[in-house]
Subunit: 261 residues, 2 copies
């Protein structure tokens, strides 16, 4: 009897683990012009999926991938109103009929406006919304609790963080968002940022709490650092912000026929 239980246990455990490793469909994608990461999350049972931070130039690539993986795009989501590239959410709406999503605090238009503690459901899975302002007022971190992974946008980058010197940037607010929200997630949580410029793709809560050169400092020291970065004016901001303000209702470009996808 004991042996039978163990055998049954092992059998179920083995099957569940094997199944668990693919209990979610996950892909990271890259735009090498703005060094932006886009994320695809899909439910292998219902085939519903969502994209986080798509880039307009890659809308067809990203939509094609959803089709290749036999997924149906339910949501195209932004972590915030980006200043360095035009979001693909508007184009993806036209391609797929998905709903666009962004935080209410971003000031941008979209089909669904979200806020702290909201839940985004796709198939059998959920993303929890954490409001993590500081880079912009509307920055959100999306947390996938079952896998202990989080998408931090520009709030927390790998050994870095988003700028606080334009839009509604505020270093003190950003420091509190990272320390009070992101750093309170389980320490093994894998963090996927909106950007990286050094060929790195993810980090973890544990690493950033130990090694982030800015956010391991005191709040006052962090504010001092952020207020003295003296960075150049963002190249794409004048084009990106007006477009991203209407990201959720942006029409498909006239010269980009759907049938090319």
């Amino acid at each position: 009897m004991v042996l039978q239980v163990i055998r049954f246990f092992n059998k179920v455990f083995t099957r569940r683990v094997s199944s668990h490793t693919r209990s979610i469909i996950f892909r990271q994608l890259f735009d090498d012009v703005s060094s932006t990461y886009t994320y695809l999350l899909g439910c292998p049972i219902t085939r519903e999926c969502l994209l986080i931070d798509p880039v307009v130039e890659h809308s067809k690539r990203d939509f094609k991938l959803t089709k290749d993986l036999r997924l149906q795009l339910k949501f195209a989501i932004n972590t915030h109103m980006h200043a360095d590239h035009i979001t693909g959410t508007g184009y993806l709406k036209a391609l797929s009929g998905c709903k666009s999503v962004i935080s209410k605090a971003s000031g941008a238009q979209a089909d669904i406006l979200i806020d702290e503690s909201d839940i985004i459901q796709f198939g059998d899975h959920i993303l929890k919304v954490f409001s993590t302002p500081g880079h912009t007022n509307g920055c959100c971190t999306y947390y996938l609790p079952e896998q202990e992974i989080a998408f931090t946008g520009d709030a927390l980058l790998i050994r870095g963080c988003g700028r606080t010197d334009f839009q509604e940037g505020n270093p003190r607010t950003l420091y509190r968002s990272v320390h009070d929200k992101i750093f309170t997630l389980p320490k093994n949580t894998i963090l996927y940022p909106a950007h990286d410029y050094h060929g790195m793709m993810c980090t973890s809560v544990d690493e950033e709490k130990r090694l982030n050169p800015r956010l391991t400092k005191s709040e006052d020291e962090f504010v001092e650092i952020m207020n003295n970065l003296n960075l150049g004016y963002p190249k794409q901001i004048d084009k990106a912000l007006p477009a991203n303000k209407v990201c959720g209702v942006f029409d498909i470009p006239k010269d980009e026929p759907l049938d090319e996808v």
Copy 2:
């Protein structure tokens, strides 16, 4: 009693699943000059790790990451003798004292020469070696059975494959390697290639069996396609091949002091 069993079961299952998601440390890294992916695999228990296909220019970045993650680099491994970049294995040996590894059939020097069916152990984990020639004679695919993921080098790329028009390239051999070895892995196996040029980071056996524009063709059609690609001469080949032939014994560059790491 039944309820107790279910509770116990759930408890154990939840714990094992939670533990399973971090049963291995895994990082994908990128070199944007040669579009090469490097992979870090580590054992969270013993802290031993290995790197697959490191690029010399990123040796310090990659070694620093092993230190940041509190890992000890045991092996620096190549999937094959690359023609498009200089491997970082020699430099990493000097930085870390790790052993260099490449296939015997590659013709390159290294501390450990491997062959079909060999096992590479790091901590509580193993990589199985599959010989997958065709791009070069010494191409290997490394398979991590516990996670059902494989590192295919240049044998199979995302919706593509490595060239067969230089070194010991042979399209018929490559076709057989992919169909007889890689395509016989479980269909949900996630495949990590040595390169991608479109911002994609991985694929799966299922996808490539359905969607690879070359390898879904018949063997004869594949040979015809590969023999008529008319690609340019690889830019780095004259520099990369002589260096990579001695990758495992390559000295640390004199102008790159260790203490900068």
